[in-house]
């Protein structure tokens, strides 16, 4: 067991890094993705703020960015990162790229879930004289809250997955720890304990997401 315990301080640091990368990315990407998703939903022709030009532009942008694998995405946006945060490596850089990548994925999940809200409910809100932005924030998001929470939970797991590649860019984290201290040194206890840690992290997130969604759906 000492193969693992000697690495305990590094392990703790790796957990802290992963939690930080995942937490910040989920929050920042979540807000940005929500905004993008609302734009996609609202500007769809015939909808609350129907605007074909904006819808097509955002739609194409999302479709272009989303299929790019994260490793390639983070490389591709290095000029942007240099310009905005001044670096292309480290935890900050990884978090920045991950936030952006997550935002595009979340935008689709938000759009899809808002589209499932009964148009009649939106019409009822319009009939009261409510403004479109007000309807988006006070009717559509609350009405779709349960599925939205489940969607965010799904993205949380995807972010944990992508964060494993942070090590490639000096971002640290559990993925980096498992490779550098584990597999590259044939230290299998480190690998398995790291895998177990990630499983626990994902399970905890999923459990929390399910619980919150159940509360939102009152089931």
């Amino acid at each position: 067991m000492h193969e693992f315990t000697t690495n305990l301080p590094v392990y703790r640091e790796a957990i802290r890094q992963t939690l930080s990368i995942v937490g910040v990315s989920l929050a920042a990407g979540g807000v940005l993705g929500l905004a993008l998703g609302l734009v996609l939903y609202a500007t769809r022709p015939g909808n609350l703020l129907g605007n074909r030009a904006v819808f097509l532009a955002v739609n194409v942008l999302v479709n272009v960015v989303r299929p790019v694998p994260f490793v390639i995405f983070i490389t591709a946006i290095q000029p942007l990162m240099l310009h905005t945060i001044g670096t292309t490596i480290g935890t900050g850089a990884v978090t920045f790229a991950l936030s952006l990548s997550a935002a595009f994925a979340i935008s689709r999940i938000v759009e899809q879930n808002l589209l499932t809200v009964d148009p009649g409910v939106v019409e009822a809100a319009r009939a009261t004289g409510a403004r479109p932005v007000g309807i988006l924030l006070t009717v559509l998001i609350p009405e779709a809250l349960g599925p939205l929470v489940l969607g965010y939970t799904f993205i949380f797991v995807a972010i944990v997955d992508m964060s494993a590649q942070a090590g490639l860019f000096g971002g640290g984290g559990l993925g980096d720890f498992a490779i550098t201290y584990g597999s590259q040194r044939y230290n299998w206890p480190v690998v398995y304990i790291t895998v177990a840690t990630i499983v626990v992290l994902v399970q905890a997130g999923q459990f929390l997401g399910n619980w919150l969604a159940r509360r939102a759906l009152r089931r």
Partner: protein
């Protein structure tokens, strides 16, 4: 909920004494000058075709209507006749592609979206599928239009309590819509529509998703809204019972056109157009259908003649009996029905007439001369 503040039993009526309807409903809104609340002036609405190359859909064409303040105005017609589109033009949820729509002093068609939103706050709307906010409680649903209108606490709570009391659901304030029955949901819908004390209420097939008994309750509530609060109601329906029990005047919509407008009794007892006659026949079910006529012909040898029953045809049965007797015509009643509309009789009776050569014709001539409204059922 502001349980400590004594809620008045009903929302205060609008302070418009001269426009308030009297305790007795006018059976025939007579020639007295009534203020026009909603006016459609040659309104048309065409939807672009769905999908590439699809033909545009003409929902309404050349619709002109006047809805008077304080009345219950019914819009009837088969599904697809354009009823739902018409009611959505009143609160600007849809905009017409031709003509003008006036609501009170506003010309809706001259306003931008912002101006239409202002007008909408004085118009309530109830829906066939209720369209309640599932994420909000009963009280939250009723409070929503008040929030939109900027009504602050504690006034908002007070008004919500008063409205829920009015529709008889004060004890369900903290429940969610899915815990309610259909009739209760629609009562919440009505309370929500009345929250901002609008002068106009639009009801789009408000009872079509309800069973007959619950329909009765909701209609009674709508009648109360009209009589006690003086709210003008535009009610869209394909159900005769709805028109029978609440409407003062109706417009019959047929393929996007107004076939006929008039008092409920006039339109049902004396439909002047083919479209109105067809709709009335289908809802009153007092006229034999083509299939029924074929069966009647097979069963009876005589000529089939249908007599309309109306309040201006008093004593017509005696006259019929005497005329048939005088002409030695045997008359069997083979189909028909008489019911009441606005407390006046309406319906028709179909006779099978047999008699010696020329006697039936002579009897029909005599009856027509006597003012009896009759029509021979033509051979198919």
């Amino acid at each position: 909920m502001a349980a400590d503040s004594p809620p008045p039993a009903v929302p205060e009526p609008k302070p418009e004494p001269e426009q308030k309807p009297g305790p007795e409903p006018e059976p025939e809104p007579g020639p007295q000058p009534a203020e026009v609340h909603v006016r459609f002036d040659r309104v048309g609405k065409t939807f672009p075709g769905k999908g590439r190359g699809a033909a545009p859909h003409v929902a309404l064409r050349d619709v002109s209507l006047e809805i008077r303040r304080g009345e219950v105005f019914g819009v009837i017609g088969h599904s697809g006749a354009g009823k739902s589109t018409l009611v959505r033009l009143v609160n600007g949820l849809e905009t017409p592609t031709a003509g003008r729509v006036h609501v009170g002093p506003h010309e809706l068609t001259a306003l931008g979206e912002k101006g239409r939103r202002e007008v909408r706050r004085d118009i309530g709307m109830v829906f066939q599928q209720f369209n309640l906010f599932r994420s909000r409680t009963v009280a939250g649903n009723v409070a929503y239009p008040l929030k939109v209108a900027g009504v602050r606490q504690p006034e908002r709570d007070r008004r919500v309590a008063r409205l829920l009391d009015f529709v008889g659901l004060l004890d369900r304030a903290h429940d969610h819509p899915e815990q309610l029955s259909g009739g209760q949901k629609q009562r919440v819908g009505i309370a929500r529509a009345l929250a901002t004390e609008p002068s106009l209420l639009l009801a789009d097939e408000a009872t079509s998703a309800l069973d007959p008994e619950t329909t009765g309750e909701v209609l009674a509530l709508l009648r109360q809204v009209n009589r006690e609060l003086g709210v003008t109601i535009v009610i869209i329906t394909h159900e005769l019972d709805v028109i029978r029990s609440v409407a003062d005047r109706v417009a019959v919509l047929d393929s996007g056109r107004v076939a006929e407008t008039g008092s409920v009794y006039d339109v049902f007892a004396r439909p002047r157009t083919e479209a109105a006659a067809r709709f009335v026949g289908a809802t009153l079910r007092d006229r034999p259908s083509a299939q029924t006529l074929a069966r009647l012909r097979a069963r009876h040898t005589g000529r089939l003649v249908t007599v309309r029953v109306r309040d201006d045809q008093g004593g017509f049965q005696t006259r019929l009996a005497r005329t048939f007797l005088d002409h030695q015509v045997a008359a069997d009643i083979v189909f028909g029905g008489i019911s009441e509309l606005q407390e006046r009789p309406v319906g028709s009776l179909t006779f099978a007439l047999t008699g010696p050569g020329g006697a039936v014709d002579a009897a029909l001539v005599a009856l027509r001369a006597d003012g009896v409204d009759l029509a021979e059922e033509e051979e198919a």
